[in-house]
Every structure is written in C-alpha cells, then in structure tokens.
Amino acid sequence: MKYRFSFDHSEVALSGQLTFPDHTNFRALADKLLKSAGRPLVIDLADLDFIDSAGLGMLLIVRNEAERANRTVALRAPRGQVKKIFELSKFESLFGIEE
C-alpha cells in the first residue's frame, strides 16, 4: 500500500492493495489523519486496486476512532474489487461513500 496526504492531512489517498500485512503502515497514516482538523476525514480510494477482509477491518477501526471524537470518515471513489467488497459488507450504511 502507498499513500499520499493532502496539504492539511485531512485527506489521504491510498493506492495499491490494503491487506493484513499493511496494518502497521495503515495505523501510522490513521493516527496522522485523526490528528488533522478536517471534517469529514476523507480516504480516497480511486487508486486502490484490492482490499481484503483485514483491510475492511482497518477502515472500521478508523471510523470508530473518529466517531469517538464526534467526527466522520468518508470513503471516496471506490472502484472495481474494492467497490464490490464494500457492497457485500454493506459499507454504505457505515460510511459516507463519495462516488
């Protein structure tokens, strides 16, 4: 997984794959995202090609941590396999999904 932050760190764009072995890197980026002032926090998935069940869990952890601080997380532009897995996991009821 690779990632790139926006200027104010409230948006992060992921690329490649988000799978279990990425959890350490993802935790670091989540910490940075949660420390930013953005509302909502945005995770851009336009360049993410593949996600596994652990990757879904990681997104849910960010959502829960944001919720504790009365903030929300939006997932932007999922496509292909990622979009299909989100539909299967009913993520549209848990996150704001921006097309």
């Binding site: 959890h23 935790r27 652990a54 396999q81």
Partner: protein
C-alpha cells in the same frame, strides 16, 4: 566521463546478482503449459515441476512462510487467466476468494491461530506479532499450503488445503461477525465470491467453485 569503481559491498558479486523473489519463481513455474509447481524446503527454494497433473489443471504446493509472504492469489489467478478466457469480473472474484482462503489456511490452519481477542489497531498489531512468532517456528513455517485447480467448459474448481488442526463451523451461523466487527469476514467474502464452497478434510481443505 570517467567511470567510478564500485566500493565495498557494491563490488561484491553477491550484491550485484539479481535476487529472484519467491513470488517471481512461483509465477515463472506456472507459465503455460507447466501444470504443477512444488516448493522444496525453506526459502531459498527450488521450484520444480514434479507432479503429473492433468492438462486441465494446476497444482501448487508451497511452505506456509512462502504462502504468507508471496502474492499467491495473484500468481494463481494469473496462471488461470493465461490458460482460460475469464468473463468480466470473474478474475477479481477468483483472486479475492483465493486470497482469503490462503490467508485462512496460513493463519488459522498451519499457524494454529484460532482467534485474536484484541480489538482495534492494538489487536491487529498483536495478531501481526503472533503471526511472525509462529512463522519463526520451523515446524509451522514449513507446513504446506496446497492449491489445486481443475476446470471444464462450465466451471473452475479450486481446492486450498492446509496441514492444521482443521475447523468446524458453528451450525448456528454464529461465525458471522456483526456489521461493524473488525474481523471474521473472510469466509463470508469467500462464499459471496464463489458459486459454491465445500469444506472437506475436517476443515483442512476448502473447495471453491466458479462458473465460467
């Protein structure tokens, strides 16, 4: 322009030699028409065609450590796509289901990690640490993960087997996680991606069937 003489490590032939990753070796070993690939022993490994698989099939046998560290699902799916025309969306479904099935075979099967109790990122870190600790135990790391694929004009069938203790799914469906649970989605995803699934060998083998 004068060329610079390499110094130290850079001068060593060992340093300059290209290093093949396990994934690259496995992918090369499954280039058509090779039907089978068996990893012998721990990495650095030799991969050789060893088993006379039928022409409508593929067979792959790797150690647990290679199954965990290599993009096996990508490699096997690419090997299938090199032999068969896969309709739109099928390649993604196969790769997704294979990925989850291989991770289950590694983590819950050969590494014997039944559940991870922690939640949040601390839980994931603890699980990651446990996986690395178990991979450092030779008897677990060298257990095999076997993947077999067969096809006919109507279907493609994969069987993923491990050498763990097996698995019994609760009959009451309690294996399903809540909507917001952090883990436990692997089997749900597998079942949604494949047309049919079948657990065999007391949970040590999982068959996935896809319509072509």
């Amino acid at each position: 322009m004068a060329t610079r003489e390499p110094k130290g490590l850079l001068k060593s032939p060992e340093f300059c030699r290209p290093v093949a990753t396990p994934g690259a070796v496995l992918a090369a070993a499954l280039v058509p028409p090779r039907p089978a690939s068996v990893e012998r022993g721990p990495w650095p490994m030799a991969v050789a065609d060893e088993r006379a698989a039928p022409i409508d099939g593929l067979y792959l046998s790797v150690t647990t450590v290679t199954a965990y560290r290599s993009p096996l699902a990508v490699i096997v799916t690419a090997a299938i796509a090199a032999r068969l025309r896969l309709r739109l969306g099928l390649r993604d479904r196969i790769e997704t289901a294979l990925y989850e099935a291989i991770m289950n075979a590694v983590v819950h099967g050969n590494l014997g990690i039944a559940q991870h109790g922690g939640t949040g990122f601390d839980g994931l870190d603890a699980l990651g640490l446990l996986v690395e600790q178990r991979l450092a135990e030779a008897d677990r790391a060298l257990k095999r993960v076997r993947i077999e694929a067969h096809w006919d004009p109507g279907e493609i069938e994969f069987t993923i087997c491990d050498e763990g203790e097996g698995y019994v799914e609760p009959a009451d469906g309690s294996a399903s996680p809540p909507l917001t649970g952090f883990s436990g989605r692997g089997l749900i995803i597998i079942r949604a991606m494949a047309e049919r699934t079948l657990v065999r060998e007391e949970g040590r083998c999982l068959c996935l069937v896809f319509s072509r």
